[in-house]
Symmetry: C2
Subunit: 309 residues, 2 copies
Amino acid sequence: MSTILVVGSVAFDTVQSPSGSVSRILGGAATYFSLAASYFAKVRAIAIVGDDFTEKEERVLLDRGVDIRGIERVPGGKTFHWAGHYLDSLNEAKTLATDLNVFQGFDPKIPKEYEDSDFLFLANIDPKLQANVRRQMPKVKLVGGDTMNYWIAGFRSDLERVLQATDVLLINDGEAKMLADDKGLARAANKILTMGPKALVIKHGEYGATIFFGNGEFGGGTHPFRAPALPIEEVVDPTGAGDSFAGGFMGYLASQSQVTRDVLKRAMFYGGVMGSFAVERFGTERLRSLTRDQIDERFRAFQELSHLP
Amino acid sequence: MSTILVVGSVAFDTVQSPSGSVSRILGGAATYFSLAASYFAKVRAIAIVGDDFTEKEERVLLDRGVDIRGIERVPGGKTFHWAGHYLDSLNEAKTLATDLNVFQGFDPKIPKEYEDSDFLFLANIDPKLQANVRRQMPKVKLVGGDTMNYWIAGFRSDLERVLQATDVLLINDGEAKMLADDKGLARAANKILTMGPKALVIKHGEYGATIFFGNGEFGGGTHPFRAPALPIEEVVDPTGAGDSFAGGFMGYLASQSQVTRDVLKRAMFYGGVMGSFAVERFGTERLRSLTRDQIDERFRAFQELSHLP
């Protein structure tokens, strides 16, 4: 079974949505990614936490077989805490507080046991740290990455450096338009494909996601591919949807013997599937206890939603 | 060949977009609808114009075989004129001027020759007029309709009356949420399906469109179906995209011997196809000179974009 190494945040989230509110529940990009990917491949996580990250939180990851030897504990430190709400729109979080805590001093170290990982996912952290990790993992088969407006706006040259060494970038509409400095989505995508990535996944929230390909990459031309998102009556908590998408996407890639164009297309559906589960409950609740049958059943629902008979 | 009767606006549009600007070119919902539908079925139009609507404009519709005997001329009158721009966003027009002119006195009369029409499309006009037309066409096989925020906000009871007699309503995200008074798209859709329509098409602009079905209607359950929109590098003029979608959608329905669930799904693709052509040039230019081969080729591009191999 292939292994995926993910580097990113583990956090406690305080979230309000129209469905209710929760306080300091386990979250963070590396957490959502790991849980979602764990249904497809062996996941190894690198992150940093304080001593408020207890055995209870550990269990969530260990129960899904996630290797957490790369999660650094800072004695006396506090874990990254994010607070936000979705009361105005389920499509966009309003941030109320960002307490970086130990995350501020994050300097990812790759445990010896992780060095033979097959796939690498650089979740949304400082692009300097992403580049650092990337350099230490020269032999991985495929590198996926994420970023956000903050790094695009203020740390462009660092970001450009890591993009040169990223195979598949996964970002949302707003980030893509900002990165390319172009309001047209298709044009923005094609500009970003000149910055290094061989393929670019642009996530459209409740409308799904599109993958754009560099010409000739992964054995095909430039035709994009679009996967839908499931129309869900009650989105309880959108937090982590994008990271869960990335987990399903990368996890599926890692489960296949080769990353071809067709495998990437199916990975888009598995990304959507895992994102759709994530938002059904607060935090990681739904991602903890899925079965492969439930995942495949939802995959078929995505096909029925988008494929002509 | 089946016939579709469309009632709506014929207008002159003044449009600015990042690609350039045009002044007083032929537009209006009935125009875009008729041209798009004309590739699939025989179209009959009811509208009102002034004497600035000359033989040149007539030719655009006649060349596509559109029956314009129902287009009323008001001697000495001026045709509806709309001015707007897409400089801030291609997804939303900023209206600069709306000169209703003769459209203000529009009181649609159905010519005797139109009375045997098979399908009816009520484009976005006063719901009182829509209801009037609907009443005069009791025997049509299927009624499609459109509306907009203005009628939803201020003329709700009129709108509710016509919705009771509409089979398929085609509106956009914002309109659906406003009509249902619900920010959740899937919930909004299900509320609207209790207002009369058997199926509801919600258009998501550059992200495609979703059709929601009333339970048991058109021979199936409640599973929605989503068609993508084509990622286009240069959207020249978004005006009329929604009406062209409706034209492709209704046109395809009219071209089939029966309106089944599967036919409605394919109609969603043809709607997207005609919308994608419309935005490639200013005004109706692209819709005037298509071939059925070009339409089918784009249909296949939509399939390739959204279907797993």
